[in-house]
Symmetry: C2
Subunit: 198 residues, 2 copies
DNA sequence: CAACAAGCGGACCGCGCGGTCAACTTGTTA
DNA sequence: TAACAAGTTGACCGCGCGGTCCGCTTGTTG
């Protein structure tokens, strides 16, 4: 499919810079940031962006793939941790910190269709489910909560704090703590509605 | 300021239809819905929209004002309820159901600047703070949670479920229950980060 | 160093958006 | 019902977007 002929030196540099700038800009100002802005901040022409990425969506997909891959690596490592409850909390902390700025919750927003992104996301779901299962077996998480529940709640701390752009950049930790307390067995009340399944 | 000369009958009808259609459309498809689409679905020309509302933002502001005003009425009524804990939960339930579809969390997104919206929102904050204070005094809410915390978390259940547009429309209840459990004193762990203040 | 392909840039295109306007229609009122 | 103001309409405008393209530049290679 993709030919792996080595990129020219400057081209490789530009590609890297574009990915970095785009990730930064998307995190800071959201996905509606224009391609022209990204190109300008990366010090290249707009055409160069489209030479490296077929479309804006492809650029986004590339970044999403990177992010999820990172998360998966962390998650797999934490599957072997001694304390399953602490492991799940740390995973959620890493996930929330990763997309600390702005939404960056394009986990399921854009970038669909591409098989590699879907696969990577599926793997993420499996890892989270495994982390949750271990934590549950260890009594650190209530019985009626599933992996899908946790995946959905994963993005909440950032969304919540995005309403106060001027607040402390660490504020998300507060809401992660509250939500995590809601996931604990202690004092849990029965949940309405069955868990979602996709 | 605004002259209150009676609207012509058809004009009043159109204005009402526009507000209804716009609220529906915004809830369903988000704020990026075009004015032209709203006009079409309301069966009027695009120009009519701008006769009734100076700009798209004004139209949004009007809807936001309506929604928050409704919420405030419910909140004020619940301030007199017998069980303060149940009252807070019901308030959050009403709030979440109100903007059940899509985000509609334009609580703090657009529509700023207009003094009446800001005032109404301020009132909302006061009411939520009062509901939380009562619930806390009654032992239904943990000590370290503030009204602002709850306002921020208010929108979370909808955001969370908006990732699964095909799931049950009542799924938000599940995540409201989890988050509310996180607000309870039972089994609460100390929170990192001080509460925000705006 | 010569020569070529790979890479680059920015003018350009079509599109859909929010918003305007002048000609036309219609509810209201005496 | 006559006549006017209030309301309506859709063509139109400017703008910024994602994306294209071709002439130019530059790294690479024998």
């Amino acid at each position: 499919m993709t030919d792996h002929r080595p990129l020219r030196a400057d081209a490789a540099r530009n590609r890297k810079a574009l990915l970095a700038v785009a990730a930064d800009e998307f995190a800071e100002r959201g996905l509606e940031t224009s391609v022209a802005d990204i190109a300008r901040r990366a010090g290249v022409g707009k055409g160069t962006v489209f030479r490296h990425f077929a479309s804006k969506d492809e650029l986004i997909a590339e970044i999403v793939l990177d992010r999820i891959t990172e998360l998966n690596a962390v998650g797999e490592r934490l599957l072997a941790a001694a304390d399953p409850g602490a492991a799940l909390l740390e995973f959620l902390t890493v996930a929330a910190r990763q997309r600390q700025q702005r939404d960056l919750s394009f986990l399921q927003e854009a970038g669909e269709l591409r098989a590699d992104v879907v696969d990577c996301r599926t793997r993420l779901y499996e890892i989270v489910a495994a982390l949750v299962d271990r934590a549950r077996a260890h009594g650190a998480v209530r019985d009626d909560v599933t992996g899908t529940d946790v995946v959905l709640l994963m993005c909440a701390p950032n969304h919540v704090t995005s309403y106060l752009p001027d607040a402390s950049p660490d504020l998300w930790q507060r809401y992660l703590a509250i939500i995590f307390d809601g996931l604990r067995p202690a004092g849990a009340h029965p949940l309405p509605q069955p868990p979602p399944t996709p």
